[in-house]
C-alpha cells in the first residue's frame, strides 16, 4: 500500500467544521454524516422496503425525513431516498448498503456531493423566508423538500420547530454559507 494518508478538509475548506452564531441562530457545518442515494430497481420497491426495515433504514414518506437509530433518510424524488449514516462508522457507505439491498437497488455514494449546515434557534422561518420559498412555519417536523436558495439547489429538512438541516451543493459551500450569514445579518 502506498505510504500516503490524505487529510480531509471540510466543504468550507477548513480542517474542522465550523459552529457559529448568526444572530439568535446557530449554524453548524456537519462533517460527520455519510450519504448515499437509494433507488429501488424497477419492480423491487417492496423488496427494498423489507430489507430497509430489517436494517433499520427508514424509507420516509414523500416530502418527509426520518431518523432511525443508526440510519436516517429523506425522500428526494419518486423512488429515490437519501440515506444518512454516521461517517465514523459508515464512511464507505455504499458497500454497507449493498450488503443490505444487494442488486435490488441502485446505490450511489453522495457523502461529499453535499455540504450540510444545521441551523438551530427560535423562529427559523424569519431567516429562511429571506432565502427559500418553502413555507417553513406550518410545515410539520420531518418535512423535507428540495428548494432553491440564491440559485443553489438545496434540500431543506425541518428536524423540529427550532432546528433545520440544509444540504447544499458542496462546491458552492462558501456561497451558501455567505447567503446564510448575510440574510441573518440583515435581521440582527
Amino acid at each position: 500500500m502506498a505510504e500516503i494518508k490524505l487529510k480531509p478538509l471540510t466543504a468550507l475548506g477548513h480542517d474542522l467544521p465550523v459552529t457559529e452564531a448568526l444572530g439568535p441562530w446557530t449554524l453548524t457545518e456537519r462533517f460527520d454524516v455519510a450519504l448515499a442515494s437509494l433507488a429501488p430497481r424497477r419492480g423491487r420497491l417492496d423488496e427494498v422496503r423489507a430489507a430497509a426495515a430489517r436494517a433499520g433504514i427508514p424509507m420516509s414518506a414523500p416530502a418527509r425525513a426520518e431518523l432511525g437509530a443508526t440510519f436516517g433518510a429523506f425522500w428526494m424524488t419518486p423512488d429515490m431516498w437519501m440515506v444518512e449514516a454516521p461517517f465514523a462508522t459508515h464512511e464507505d457507505i455504499r458497500p454497507a448498503l449493498l450488503a443490505v439491498f444487494g442488486d435490488a437497488a441502485s446505490i450511489t455514494e453522495q457523502t461529499d456531493a453535499w455540504v450540510r449546515f444545521d441551523l438551530a434557534g427560535p423562529e427559523l422561518e424569519r431567516l429562511m423566508e429571506r432565502l427559500s420559498n418553502f413555507d417553513l412555519a406550518p410545515a410539520p417536523e420531518g418535512a423535507a423538500t428540495r428548494t432553491v436558495i440564491e440559485h443553489m439547489g438545496c434540500y431543506l429538512i425541518k428536524r423540529s420547530a427550532q432546528a433545520i438541516t440544509l444540504y447544499g451543493p458542496r462546491s458552492s459551500a462558501r456561497s451558501l454559507h455567505h447567503a446564510l450569514t448575510v440574510a441573518a445579518a440583515s435581521l440582527a
Partner: protein, 981 residues
Amino acid sequence: MTQVNRIAGGQIDRSQTLRFTFDGIPYQGHPGDTLASALLANGVRLMGRSFKYHRPRGVIAAGSEEPNALVELRTGARLEPNTRATVVELWDGLVANSQNRWPSLRFDALAINDRFNSFFTAGFYYKTFMWPAAFWEKVYEPIIRRAAGLGSLSHLEDPDAYDKGFLHCDLLVIGAGPAGLMAALTAGRAGLRVILADEDYALGGRLNAETFEVGGQAGSDWAAGVVAEVSALPNVRVMRRTTVYGAFDHGIYGAVERVSDHLAEPLPGKVRQTAWKIYSRRAILAGGATERPIAFENNDRPGVMLAGALRAYANRWGVAAGQRVAVFTNNDDGLRSATDLQAKGVDVVAVIDSREGGELLPGIRHLRGAEVVDSQGRLGLTGITVRDARGRTEVIRVDALGVSGGWNPNVNLLSHHRSHPTWREDIAAFVPGTGGPVGLVAVGAAAGAFSTHAALASAARAAAQVVSDLGGKASYDLPQAEDAPVAISPLWFVHSGKGRAWIDPQNDVTIKDVKLAHQENMISVEHLKRYTTLGMATDQGKTGNVIGLAVMAELTGRSIPETGTTVYRPPYTPVALGALAGRSRGKEFKPFRLTPSHKWAEEQGAVFVEVGMWLRTQWVPRQGETEWRQSVDREVLATRKSVGICDVTTLGKIDIQGTDAAAFLDRVYANTFSTLPVGRCRYGLMLREDGMVYDDGTTARMGPNEFVMTTTTANAVLVYRNLEFARQVLWPDMDVQIISTTEAWAQYSVAGPNARKLLQKIVDQDISDAAFPYMGAGEITVGGLRARLFRISFSGELAYEIAVPTRYGDALIRALVEAGREWDAVVYGTEALGVMRVEKGHVAGNELNGTSTALNMGLGKMVSRKKDAIGVKLSGREVLVAEDGLRLVGVKPVNPAHPLTAGSHLLKIGATPVVEHDDGWLTSMVYSPHLGHHIALAYLKNGAARIGERMRAVNLLARTDIEVDIVSPHFIDPEGERLRG
C-alpha cells in the same frame, strides 16, 4: 419662513421639529409629515418643472398617484431621481432638489419650450426629426433627451443592500384603509394566516384624511384600534411601507417593503428595501380609489390640486394648501373639502359646482352651474376665472384650488392579467370587471363601494367568504359609519377658449393633444397612449387616464366604455431595479462553485476563469512570468515532456445504474455502449434530436449494471436533465436510476510520459500498461482510501484521471505535486488544457457549436447505424451527409512567424473576401509551444479532401490575411502512440 400654512390638528408630532432643505433653502417640519406636506406647510407650492414645456408645477395629490411633485431626493450615491414628494416621509436632515430645470426652479431657461408648444404636440418626435434619418440616434435623440426628461442619475454605485424574500398566507389584503382593515380583522379573528400590506407608513388609508366617525370614534382612532388588534394576532402580519406592485400567476404577488427609505440611510447592517414574493391562497384588493381632476385652461399651475388632497393635507397633516382657497367640483365629495377646510378655519372663498340646482352649502359662496375656465399666476396660482350659470365670468383671487371630477377605483392589480374593467354609469367610473387574477377580489372603494359603510360591509363580506371557502367560519360586526351616496354629474373638461388644458401633467399631455391624435386617426386608446404618451412614466396616468378616455369618447362619438381602457401592467408604482436584483449584484450576482484544489490554487497565486459558475484554474504563474503565454507555454511543454496535473472535477459526472443502464446508454449516445466491457471506458457522442452533436465525454463501465458518465463542464446540467427526461418520459419502462456525482468526487488528470510513474507512487495497485491498459477504468485505493482511476487522455499524452471523495481532494493535489517533484511535475490550467487538445485535434465547445454533426467533426463513424439513438435518424439527412460538407481540419500558417487570428475565414488564394467565397472558418486557435507556431482547428468545406491545400485565413475585422496550409487536425502524435504507451 416657518410653516406659514400650518394649521391646527393633524397626525404630526409637533413636539419635535425636523429640519430639511429643498433646493438648498432650509425649512422645518414635523414627524408624520411627508416632504410634500412639509413644503406646503412652508408655503412652497413650486416643486418642479414639467416634462416638455418646463411649466412650473406643484403638488396636486397627497399619495402615490402624484404626477407632478417629483424631486431628486438625497445626494451623492444615494441620490434618487423622480421621487414623489407625496410619499417621502420627512426625516431630520432630508435634502431634496428640484429637477428638470436650469439654472433654477424659479427661472428655467428651457421654459422657452412653452412658447413653442405648437412644435411639441402629440407625435412631434415622429414628425419633426424624420430627416435625415441618420441624425436620429446621434443628434436628435441626445438633444431631446437632454431637454425633456425628468431627474438625473448619480452614476454612482448604490451603496445600499436590498433583500428579497418569500411569504405565505391564506389571505393577502392589499391596502389598509377602512375596507382592508375590516377584511384583515374579519379573517384574522377567524384564524386565517393574513398578510395586510399598505404602501403608506400610517395605516388607515382615507380614514386618516377624513373627519368621519367610525364606530362612534374618529375614523383614524378606529383604524389605530384595528391595527393594534390585528398586529397582536400571531396569524396576522402587518406590513407598512409595503406596496403590492403586481399580481402574477397562481396567487403570487410582488411587493416591495421600503425598510429604510424613511431614514437618511439604512441602519448598520439593514437593507434599504425588501422585494417580497407573496404566495397567497386568496387575495383581497382594498386599494381604494384615486381622485381625478376636471381639465380646464391652465389647470396646471402650482396651487391647483385635487380637492381630496387639499382635504387630506388639512386633516392629516395640519396644512392649508393656501390662504384663500376655492373648490371646483362636479360631485358631493368635492363639497366635503370645502366644509372640512372651512371647519379648520381656512378661508374658503368659493365653491364652483358644475351641477345646477340642489342645496347650497351654508356659510360658503357656493356657485351652482358654474365652471372654472382659466387660471392666473406665473410660478403659482393667484386667481381663477369662473363662468357662472348665466355665462358671466369673474376672476376670483385664490392661491389654492381643489378640483374634484370624481373618483376612480384603483383596479390596476385586477387588470394585471388583462382583465378589462367595466363602466358604472351611476358613479361615472370604471370598476373591476370579470376575469381578473384567480382568487383576487376587490372590496371597498377599489370595487366602487365609496361610502365608508359600503366599504366596510363589502370587505367584511368578502373576507367572511374567503374564510368560508377555506373551511372556516367568520362572523363580524360592522361598526357604524357614514353611508353617503355618490352624487356626481360627470364633467371631464371645460369647453372654453383655445388655451391648453392638461389631462396628464406629468407628460404634458393636453386636450389638444388628444384632439390632434384623433384628427390623425389614432382612434384606439392604445394608439392614443403611445402617440401622446398619455399615462406613461412614473404615475402611469393614475389621475389622467380616464379623462383622456372621456375626451377621446367625446371626439369619436362613442361612450366611455366603448372607448375602453389601456391595460394596466405591473408595477403599480415604480420599483427600483436594485430591489428586484436583491443580493444578486456585482460578484454576488451568482454563487460560485469551487473545485477541490481551489484552496491550493489560491495559495499558488493561480489565475481563475469563470466556467459557468465554476472557478477553474486558468494557469498558475511562476515567479518571473509576466505574460500569460509564458505560464501556459511552460505548462504545456512540461506536461508533454514529463508530467502535468489538472483539476478536472468540473466535468459532469453522472452515475447510471439499473438492469437497463447499458441499453439506456445505447439510446442516448450515438455510439454503442452495451458492448463496453466492465472496467473499460469509451468516448461517446450525444446528439440532439435534430442530429447535431451537443455533448461528448467518456463513460466508464464500473459493473454490469453500473456506469459513470462524464460530460463537458458546460453541459453537465443539460445532459443530466435530458437523461432524466429520457428516463421518465421517453422510456419509463426501462430500469434505470441516475444521480449526479459531479460534486462527490475530486478528479485530477495526470498526463505526460511520467504520469504512470507519478501515479504509481500514490495508488496501491499495479497500474502498468498490462494491468491498466489504455481506456481502462476501475476502483482502486490511495493509501487505503477508496478511489477511482480512468486511463483517458484529452492531451494526447499517456494520461489518467484519478478521483477521490471530494473532502480528500485538497490533500490529493498536494500529494500529487509532492510525488511529482522528482519529474518536475506542473499543475496546468484550462489554457494549457485547451492548447493540448487543439494540438491533439480533439473537439470542444468551439466545435460543438450546435450546428455541427459528428461527420463535420470527422467522427462520422461513431454514429452507429446498427441501433437507434436520439438524433441518429436526423443526422442522416441528405444535406448533413453531403460529401463536400464541412469537415474538421488543421490549419497552420505557411510562415511560422505569422500569427493566426481567431475567427478568420478560409478563402482560396486570390478569392475576393466576400461571403460567396467563404470556404470555412477557424474554430479554435492557439499558439503551440511544442510546434513553435500558431495552429488552429477549422471547419472547411470538403475539408477531408483538401488536406495539403494552401489557402488564406482572412479576418476582415482584425484586417489580417495570411497564407495557411490545410493539414490533419492531429498536430501531435497522430498515431496515438503516446497515449497508449
